[in-house]
């Protein structure tokens, strides 16, 4: 995926004129076709789509290793639970920019919201693959089947509403792309409301994803089960999301170099520096909470077991270590090290979410669930399609590049 020297013919102001032609022109591919990413992702997606067809013809068991005891595997534990944590960057960055009015982070707000939005669309999409009867997915939304006592009911509604809120937050970029001046004005007027609504929803469903596992009290290893799972999930979604923002940002800075203005390019290091401070602090609070939970759990006896060593690995190697790394790189203003810290944090979040949902779930059962290669392939397919859509949008809409000149800020 190298940069391309395409000229971007921005429609000055279409106002509906020949919009059809414009859209057709926009659908054409841009940039090089034979890039490394394309060469890898196309075979994965082709295979993944074949597997998805098999899944719908023969049932979920045909391509997954799920069992009667472990009904939720990689698709829920990684795609949904971990993916949504990583998408948390959107609510944190909108909080910084629109609620705390930190103008500094404005250059990354659009790309972060876009990433968050696509993450939800595709992870909710991946959820459909995991549903036995996906055609009934509308039941909790419309109709008379409201299971309001279910945490999943809350999560489902929040996914839907948050996707709408994020679409509203992002919509000015779409209006700018289409050259719709008046509509843009209306849409950007709705941003603050959407942000406030979105942060509220995120607080509840980030923790709600943890609350899903509260009833599985005896099934999750005691080192990972506590009544505090919702709070821990919420706290970790802050640094999970921001680490993803740092990670994605440093890739976008290279890949979409041609999109980013000189000014924003220079500002990026400062943004990462600021984010590293927030990550240090939230990791510290999170670690403190984990220690409190551990002490209250009274599980000292479990430390000297295999799962205990794994628990210590997670806590020291993937909470304390990234916290120190973030702190050190923040003090030294070492941008490369900030990116390394983000990577270590992200691995830690993946490990944590999988420990609760897959590795620690039925840890004492005779046979363990290990995802099949086909489950992994479908997960990669979802990821690849998401990146393709992301790239398509970034190349066309003012996401990373500045808004067209007709947009007057403030």
């Amino acid at each position: 995926m190298t940069m391309s020297n395409t000229n971007y013919n921005l429609p000055a102001d279409n106002d509906g004129k020949s919009i059809g032609k414009f859209l057709v022109a926009q659908l054409k591919p841009r940039g090089k076709i034979f890039t490394l990413f394309n060469m890898i992702s196309v075979p994965i997606m082709t295979l993944g789509i074949v597997l998805i067809v098999i899944r719908f013809v023969k049932g979920i068991g045909a391509i997954t290793n799920l069992t009667q005891e472990v009904p939720w595997g990689l698709w829920i534990g990684f795609d949904v639970v971990t993916g949504v944590a990583f998408a948390g960057g959107a609510y944190v960055v909108t909080f910084l920019v629109y609620i705390l009015n930190m103008e500094k982070y404005k250059p990354i707000v659009r790309v972060t919201v876009l990433n968050g939005f696509l993450a939800y669309v595709f992870y909710a999409g991946a959820l459909l693959l995991d549903l036995g009867k996906p055609w009934n997915v509308v039941n909790p939304i419309i109709g008379n089947s409201f299971g309001v006592s279910s945490v999943l009911f809350l999560v489902a509604w929040h996914f839907l509403l948050y996707m709408i809120a994020q679409l509203i937050e992002f919509s000015p970029a779409i209006a700018e792309w289409l050259g719709a001046k008046r509509i843009r004005k209306i849409l950007s007027g709705m941003t603050l409301a959407a942000v406030i609504f979105g942060i509220t929803l995120s607080t509840l469903h980030q923790s709600g994803l943890g609350a899903l596992y509260l009833m599985a009290k005896e099934k999750i290893h005691p080192l990972w089960y506590s009544e505090f799972i919702p709070l821990l999930f919420f706290l970790s979604s802050i640094f999970a999301g921001l680490s993803m923002v740092i990670f994605e940002g440093s890739i976008s800075q290279r890949v979409f170099f041609d999109q980013i203005s000189q000014k924003n390019h220079k500002a990026h290091d400062g943004i990462l520096h600021g984010l590293s401070k927030i990550c240090t602090l939230t990791l510290l609070v999170y670690f403190f909470m984990q220690v409190v939970v551990f002490i209250h759990g009274k599980h000292w006896d479990l430390i000297n077991t295999r799962m205990g060593y794994w628990y210590l690995t997670e806590m020291i190697g993937f909470v304390v270590l990234p916290m120190i790394l973030y702190f050190y790189s923040y003090r030294k203003r070492n941008i490369t090290l900030i990116k390394v810290s983000a990577l270590v944090t992200m691995i830690g979040v993946i490990i944590n979410r999988l420990n609760v949902t897959v590795i620690g779930f039925k840890w004492d059962a005779a046979t363990h669930y290990v995802p099949s290669w086909m489950e992994i392939m479908v997960t990669l397919t979802v990821l690849c399609i998401e990146i393709w859509v992301f790239r398509w949008i970034v190349r066309r809409m003012p996401v990373l590049r500045d808004s067209p000149s007709w947009v007057k800020e403030h």
Partner: protein, 289 residues
Amino acid sequence: MGIDRRNFFRSLGLTGVALGAGKKLGATPEQSDEKEFYGILYDSTRCVGCQSCELACALANGLPEPDPEDYPMPGTIRKTNENRRTVINAIETPQGEIYVKNQCMHCNQPACVAACLTKAMLKTEEGPVIWRDRKCMGCRFCMVSCPFDVPKFEYHSPNPDIVKCNMCFDRVKEGELPACVADCPAEALTFGTRRELITEARRRIHEDPDSYYDGIYGEHEAGGTGYLYISPVPFEELGLNTKLQKKSYPELTKGFLFSVPSIFILWPAMLLGIHNATKNNAKTTDDDE
């Protein structure tokens, strides 16, 4: 700290309810006084392990007929699955070989029902916990939540069902006995209201304390279950999970769910307040440190 948070949630919850945003959060239909839940008492001292209940269950529910080669053997644990809703297992004890039946426990406040976001799982007023095909979306959250690992899923079907014992709800509604109870030749299964069954179980234990372990499994487990067990040996020897909590499982998510309405009211107000308070900083904060 734990107490603090719990109290915090509790007060938040009360605020939420007081603010009138209260949705109906009860996990089950309210236990009305007029109607009592039906249940089944299983007496392991009477069970002869003949598997009549397995056959009756398969016939009554249109399941494949049980394999005659597959019978209870000490040392092997047979499990319910998508093709059989109840199984009998044999256990070797100092008192000889005894048997134990497994199936849905029909909890008073079932975790599966609280988990279900489409009300496909339903605790009926009569007591049986039933599953409804049209509502289910196949998310399997009921399986994740059930402390007894009862609901099973048809992994190899394009239109998969959740499979579990429904205490022959259609028969119960008509005033008939569940198939397994009707066909038990040893009278190991007794159908009745939960209250009657507990009285009957106590009577049997009281009249013959040498033959029974002193206790009724299901009286308090998971907040009380519709299926009740009495046995000659402690229940963990029967392979029943005795480490389950006495509170009902939906209790575990109540704190979280009660906090939702309050957050929905408090958060937006707080966020708007911060937004307005920091509005003027926007121009000056070049660096937020």
